[in-house]
Amino acid sequence: MNEIKPPRIVETAPEGDEWIPSTCNLCYGTCSILVHKVDGVAVKIEGNPKSTVGKGRLCGKGVSGLMTHYDPNRIRRPMRRTNPEKGIGIDPGWEEISWDEALNEIAGRLKKIRADDPRKLSIQRTTTVYTMGLPWGAFAPGFGTTNVSEGGGGLHCGNSAHQISGLLHASWGVLPDFQYCNYALYFGASKGHAAGHNSNSNMAQAADARERGMKMVVVDPMCNFAAAKATEWVPIRVGTDAALALAMCNVLVNELGTLDIPYLKAKTNGPYLIGPEGTYVRDGETNEPLVWDSKAGAAKPHNVADSEDMALAGEFEVNGVKCQPSFVLLKEHLKKYSPEYAEEITTVPAENIRRISAEFAKEARIGSTIVIDGVTLPYRPAAAIAFRGLQGHRNATFNFFAVLLLNQLVGAADVVGSCLGFNPAFDGIPETGRMGYKPKASVDGLMAVGTWMAYDPPYPHPEPRKPEEMGLQDLFIMGMTSPFFNSEQGEELWEKFDMPYRPEMLINYGANIMMSIANKDLIAESLKKLDFIASFDLFLNETSDFVDIILPDRGYLGCYNTRPNTPYIFSHPAGMGDWSWAIQQPVVEPEGEERIFADVLIDLAERADFLADINTAFNAVLDLRGEHRLQGDRKYSYEEICDADLKNNFGPERGLEYFKKEGVVTWPKTPEEVYWRPFTDARVPIYLEWMPALGEKIQAISGPAGLDIPMEYYSALVDYLPCQSFECNHDDFDFYTFYYRDTLHTNSFTMENAWLDEAAQLDPYSYNIAMNTASGKQRGLEDGDVIQLETEKGRQVKGRVHLTEAIHPEGLGIAALCGHWAKGMPVAEGKGVFYNELLELDWENVNPVNLTLDLCSKVKVTRVEESR
C-alpha cells in the first residue's frame, strides 16, 4: 500500500526556517500543502500529510508553484493602458499607476453603473489558479449583478457532468469507491490518474485499488492517463459514448436481466406510472405520482405504497387511463440500442460490448451486503463513471446520464464499492454541528441535493423565463457555464430576446477568456464593445490586450481562503476515511505592490458605497450567525472576515490564528455519511418525465424570438445524438479532433511555469498533436511532421504530429490550451497547439439543454511542406 510520509513540520527548526501549512491552487484540486520558507523565501512545496486532501502528496504542478510565484514576468504594480485602440496583439501601452488612481477610477465607474443598472457589470473568473471564490460570491451580489461567469478552465468545464451528478448522486461529480470497488468502468474520465477534483488523494486511492486488483476498463478515444494504467482500453469514436453506454444498459436489461429490482423500486422513479402523454399519472387529491401497488392491486401515491409492493412491470388502468411503470418504457426504449447498432456508431465490437456488460453485471454482486464499522450496507463493487471528456459534446447531458444509468440498474450508487458522489452527505462539524447537509426528497419524491456549488440546484428546476441574464441561464435553466456570456454570438441572442440592457463593464479575475472559450475573434469583438475592463492578473496574457486597468494579484501563496475544500462535494476525497478542513494563507510577503484581492474588493465596495450590501452578502454566503455577523456598513479586513467564518463554524477557540498554525482540522467519517443512499428516502430519475414539458416551455419563449429548440434533446428517455461534426461528410475531412486536459498543465495558465514547460517539452504529447500511427502512415506522415488541421468552415491550427498506437484511428488528440501569443508570458509563447481555434461558438454547437459547447470538430489534415 502507498504509505503516507510523516509530517515535515519540526518543532526545533532553526530560526528563519519554517514550514507553513496552506492550500495549493495550481488547479482546482486544492490539495493541502506545506511551504518550506527559509529567511523569508519559499524554497519548496510539499503535500501536507495531516490533511486527507492530497494525503501528503503533491503533483508536479503543485511542487512547481514556486516558479509561478517567483516568475520575473509577474505583474507587480497597477497599470493603465494608454493606447485606446484594442485588438489582438495591439500593444495597450501600459503605464504604472498608483493603487489610489486605479481604485478611484474603477470605483467611479462601478458607482455610475450601479445607479443605472447593476447588471451592466459582468464578472468573469476561473476556478483554476484562483479557486478563492468566496469574496466574489459576496462582491457580485452585494453590487447587484447577476452576471457572473465562474467556469473552470473557461468553457471547458464539466457543465453536464456536474448537473447530472447532482441529479443522480447529489454531488458535483462521481468516482469509484476506490477502497472497495473491484470493477471500474471509465468513460472519458481520468479520475485518480492525475487530473481533476481532489487529484492527489484520488491518485493514491486509485493506485492502491489497482494494486489490490481492481479492474479498470477505460472507454476513451485516447489511451493516456487512465487508460494507460487500465486493465483494458476500449478505443471509441469521438463523442459516441452514449451509444455504447445505452447498448450496455440494453444488455443488462434485455439480454442478461441482471438488475437490482429492490433498488429500482425503492430508489428510482422506475415504478412511477406513465400515462399516454408520457407524464406521471397523479393522485387526484395530493397530485403525487402514482405507482401500482401489486399487493393491494390498486394505484397508490408513491409516498403511501411500500416500495417492495411497487410494480416495475405490467400495464394498468387508473381512472380510465392506461399506464405503465416508467421502467417498462425504459426497457422498451433500450431495445433499439443493440450491441450491433452501437458497434456501427462507436466502432466498439458488439462482442466486446456484451462481454464488458456481463463483467460489470457480475461484479456488481447484486443482493450482497457488507459490514463497515459495524453497519450493514449494500455491497456493489462495480462503478461506471464519466467526466469532462465524454460530456464535452453537443449531446452532453444524455452522454453523461447514459453512463450513470448503468449504476442505477444494478444498484451501484453511493454504497460500498460503487459509483460514489463526492461526499453528498455530511453530518457537520462535530463540536458545533455546523455546515451539515444531506440529500432529501423533493418535488415528486425525487432527490434534491443537500448542498450545491451554485444557488440554483439541479432539481427541482425553476421555470424558464424570458432571459435577462447575459448567459441566458434564466431561459436555459439547466445551464451553468454559458458560451454566450462573453461573445459576439451572445449579442445576437440578446437582440433576439430583446434584452433590456447590455454589459458595459467587466471585472476579470484570472480568466484568460481569449483562449479559454472558442473562436477568439468573436470573444475579441465582444471585449472591444465594453466601455471598461479591470482585471486582476498574474501575467499580461492574451485577454490583457483588451483590459483598461490591470491589478496585480498576490496569487495563491499570498491569499487567504477559509474554505478551499468545502462544501465537500467539490474537491475532497470520497469514501471512508477522514474529513479535513484546511485553509489557505499567505506564506510569503507581497512582491512589489501586490495586494490581497479580497481586500481590494472590499475597498472598492467602500469607495462605491455598497459596504452594507457586501457585508450582508458575506453574511449570506458564509452563513455567519450571531456575534459573527458583519454589521451595517462597517469596513472589515478580509482577515477579520476569515476569522469570523472559522469561529462561526469551529467555535471561539479555533479562529484564523489557530488555523494559521495548524493548517488543517481532521476528524473521521461515518459509514452513514459515506454510504448515505440506503438511509435516505429519496428517489432519482431513470425517466426524465419533466424534460419534454421543459423543452416546450423554453420553445414557447425562444421560438417567437427565432430560436428553435431541437426537442429530441428534451426527451424523457435518453438517446445517443450525434455531434455537429458528424454532419461533415466530405471525404477529405476524416479526423475527429478532441481536446484533453494534460496532467502537466492546467488549462491555458501553466505553460508560463518554467518547470512545467520543460517537462511538457520532454513529453511527446503535451505540445503535439496525437495521431494513430497507421492513420498517419496511410497519409504519408512521419512522426514530427508539422501538420495543418482545417475545419469545414476554414478554421485552422498547425502543430507537430506525434504518431502513436495509443489513439483511435479517427481521432486527433490535442492537450491543454497551448499556443500562447502574448508577449507577457514569454515562457509559454509559441508552445503547443491552440486547440480552441478550431471551435465554432454558436447555437448549433451547444447542447440545447444546458449550453455545453461541443469541443470536437471534424478536420482535414495536410502536411506543411517545409516541416521536414
Partner: protein, 146 residues
C-alpha cells in the same frame, strides 16, 4: 478477464444466491419515513395580531426603493411569501419576478434572514411568537466550475 482477487480490506461481503440481502436495506428508509409521517401531527394555525416587519433589501433588490428599511404591517402568521406579496403591492411585481417561481415559491438564489438568522421555509411564519421582525433579502448568483 480473470476472476477478481480476494479483497484485502479484510471484510467479508455477504452474498447468498437464494436471498437478496440488500433488499431490506433499500426498503427501510421509505418505511421509516412512512412511519414518521403517520405519527406526526399537523400544526394548527393560531390567529395572531398584526406584526411590524422591517425589510432590508440589498444588492440588486436595493434598486427597488431608496426606502430603507421598508416598514410593513403584516398578519402575525406572515410568511416570506407574504412579505414578498406586500413588497409587490407597494413597489410592483416586476422587481420581484426574478426571485419568484411558480414551483418552488422563492428561488433558492434569494437568501432571506429573519432577525439575523437564515430562513429557508418560505411557507413558515417569520415570527411564530408574534413579535416584530427584521427581514433581510439578497440575491446570490454564481457557481464553481471544474
Amino acid at each position: 478477464m480473470g476472476e477478481i482477487p480476494e479483497l484485502e480490506h479484510g471484510l467479508e461481503p455477504r452474498l447468498d444466491t437464494d436471498e437478496d440481502r440488500s433488499a431490506v436495506l433499500w426498503y427501510s428508509a421509505g418505511r421509516r419515513a412512512a412511519d414518521d409521517a403517520a405519527s406526526s401531527t399537523n400544526s394548527q394555525n393560531i390567529a395572531a395580531p398584526e406584526i411590524a416587519v422591517d425589510v432590508l433589501l440589498f444588492g440588486l433588490l436595493s434598486a427597488v426603493t431608496t426606502e430603507s428599511p421598508v416598514s410593513l404591517s403584516l398578519a402575525g402568521t406572515a410568511t416570506p411569501m407574504d412579505v414578498v406579496a406586500a413588497l409587490e403591492d407597494r413597489f410592483g411585481a416586476e422587481p420581484f419576478a426574478q426571485i419568484k417561481d411558480p414551483g418552488v415559491g422563492i428561488l433558492p438564489c434569494c437568501r432571506l434572514f429573519v432577525d439575523g438568522e437564515p430562513f429557508e421555509d418560505v411557507d413558515a411564519p417569520i415570527s411564530p411568537d408574534g413579535k416584530s421582525a427584521t427581514v433581510e433579502m439578497i440575491i446570490l448568483k454564481g457557481f464553481e466550475g471544474g
